[in-house]
């Protein structure tokens, strides 16, 4: 009796820490504490389970093996998390998310293997945990591979139909397995496993870089739901609250991101928006000229400006140019120039990706200004330096209804007096569309690797 009380207490405290932790994670001042609070609650709930959980009167067995698995997981997880570079954070989160999904799927498999018969409600919970966990696992691993540039995009109209067909097949198999379990018998679990794994792969495969933040967030909430089904299965309140909190919070975050990119969630799920070049840049005419600028002129322009705004994008992350960016900012401030950073919510490959990168480089937090606050200030800005960003500064989102990104809120950099675009080449961004900003009368292009060019720019500024 006492042990059950202690178990339930550990679960109650665990649930509370998850809620308080998430709440604290939503504010910059308390975020770190929130993470530690949630981690503490997790530890308590795990300890409570190992010590006090009973099933039909039997306590938890196989404890040496459980501890061995946990020790191994702790060492490996710790090392991976400590070694990963800040630029590779998105794929790391995606990877850990996949592990959680796989864990949920395995629970369903073992549970079904031990108890293949039961009420439709029981079967539904087992199978849904399996399907969602598996999709989350295989999808996250593909997302990880794509972000790490190990896997290339595969696009094509056909894939959309295959995905729809797979969804229908999964639903049909699920219905059959729950309502008429005798048809497939014990093979039901393997059929559903195979279909879900394939769906996860094909669902993430065609999705272009621009949609990756949405996908990771969506898969994150999937794993939350899978964990919640585990909670249903074992009548376990802490799994339920933890899983559902993440499921619903993750869904909200996903929807916020879709809105920021003017895209419906359905569109993302079906995977119809590939990185492919189906969208032709209708706003750009062949005879338009691109103006180039050299480093010395850039340095002079910036040094004598009153206010400079830097717009970072994924190119900054790829070039690892966040530290040199901070140096440029300090150099300009020494010369009396006001410098800030304009942060588009979906710049990079995860929401807030740019903030994390710039924070790593010690850029002060108040200098990172969000889109809605900086757009009204654009017309009083002398120079905007766009570093490796593209779609988030594309005027087509405002003035070209035929553009696939039409309606997406963008940084209105063209309202500033001068725009300098630092970019490796004239290649299109992740949405695969041309950017007429590059041909804008106010725009000058500075071609080269972001890190190298900014380094040289800082050098030029020193000589001035």
């Amino acid at each position: 009796m006492t042990s059950n009380l202690l178990l339930q207490l550990s679960y109650l405290i665990g649930s509370i820490t998850f809620i308080v932790g998430l709440k604290q994670l939503s504010s910059p001042d308390s975020a770190r504490k929130g993470n530690l609070v949630a981690a503490f609650g997790m530890g308590l709930a795990i300890l409570g389970t190992i010590l006090f959980h009973t099933h039909d009167g039997a306590p938890i067995g196989n404890i040496p093996w459980i501890l061995a698995a946990m020790a191994l997981g702790t060492v490996v997880g710790w090392l991976m998390a400590m070694k990963v570079k800040m630029t590779a954070m998105p794929q790391m989160v995606s990877f850990f998310n996949g592990m959680g999904g796989a864990c949920a799927a395995i629970i369903s498999i073992v549970e079904f293997h031990s108890h293949p018969h039961g009420t439709p409600g029981y079967l539904l919970v087992v199978f849904l945990g399996l399907i969602i966990g598996t999709v989350s696992f295989s999808g996250s691993i593909i997302a990880y591979g794509k972000l790490d540039e190990k896997i290339k995009d595969i696009t094509g109209k056909l894939l959309t139909y295959i995905n729809l067909l797979l969804l229908v097949l999964i639903l049909a198999a699920l219905t059959a397995a729950v309502i008429a379990p005798e048809i497939m018998g014990e093979s039901a679990i393997w059929v559903l496993l195979a279909l879900s794994a394939l769906y996860g792969v094909l669902f993430v495969m065609p999705i272009g870089g621009a949609d990756m933040p949405v996908v990771i967030s969506l898969l994150n909430s999937f794993t939350g739901m899978a964990a919640a089904f585990g909670g249903f299965l074992y009548d376990n309140p802490v799994m339920l609250t933890g899983g559902i909190l993440v499921g619903s919070a993750g869904t909200i975050l996903t929807i916020l991101m879709c809105t920021a990119m003017n895209r419906s969630l359905l569109n993302v799920i079906i995977g119809s928006f590939g990185g492919g070049g189906s969208a032709a840049g209708s706003g750009v005419k062949g005879d338009q000229v691109v103006k180039e600028i050299n480093l010395t002129d850039t340095a002079i322009l910036c040094a004598y400006a009153g206010k400079v705004t830097i717009v970072p994008g994924y190119g900054l992350a790829v070039a690892q140019a966040q530290h040199i960016c901070h140096e440029l900012e300090k150099k300009l401030e020494d010369k009396g120039v006001e410098v800030n950073f304009a942060i588009h919510p979906v710049a990079g490959r995860m929401p807030g990706h740019m903030n994390v990168l710039l924070a790593e480089a010690d850029v002060p937090y108040p200098k990172l200004i969000e889109m809605e606050d900086i757009n009204p200030q654009m017309n009083s800005t002398d120079v905007v330096i766009v570093v490796g960003a593209n779609d988030v500064v594309n005027p087509a989102a405002e003035n070209d209804p035929s553009s696939p990104i039409y309606g997406m809120p963008v940084l209105k950099v063209w309202e500033a007096k001068n725009v300098i675009v630092l970019k490796r080449s004239m290649r299109a961004g992740y949405a695969g569309i041309e950017n007429e900003l590059f041909f804008h009368p106010k725009t000058k292009m500075l071609f080269g690797d972001a890190k190298e060019m900014l380094g040289k720019l800082v050098g030029e500024l020193k000589d001035l």
Partner: protein, 99 residues
Amino acid sequence: MAEFFIENQDLIYIVVLSILLGVEVISNVPAILHTPLMSGANAIHGVVIIGAIIVMGHARSDDYLALVLGFLAVLLGTLNVVGGFVVTNRMLEMFKKKK
């Protein structure tokens, strides 16, 4: 259906209230914290490890499939929990020292 609802009334309450709570807690987050928040949420759904411990802990000693898969589930769940919290902490550490 009605039977299912009445039998699982407590659980259904937890589900509904947790959904509303999740929405409420998240809705005022500045975009700046989206990545750490997603990462923190990622660590929290690692709570699925408790299911893995239960599966492993109550597996019969001659049921090798359950034992092997259970071991794997605990391992992967631990990766999710430990990796998730450590990565989140690393991200937030960088915000911290600017204060």
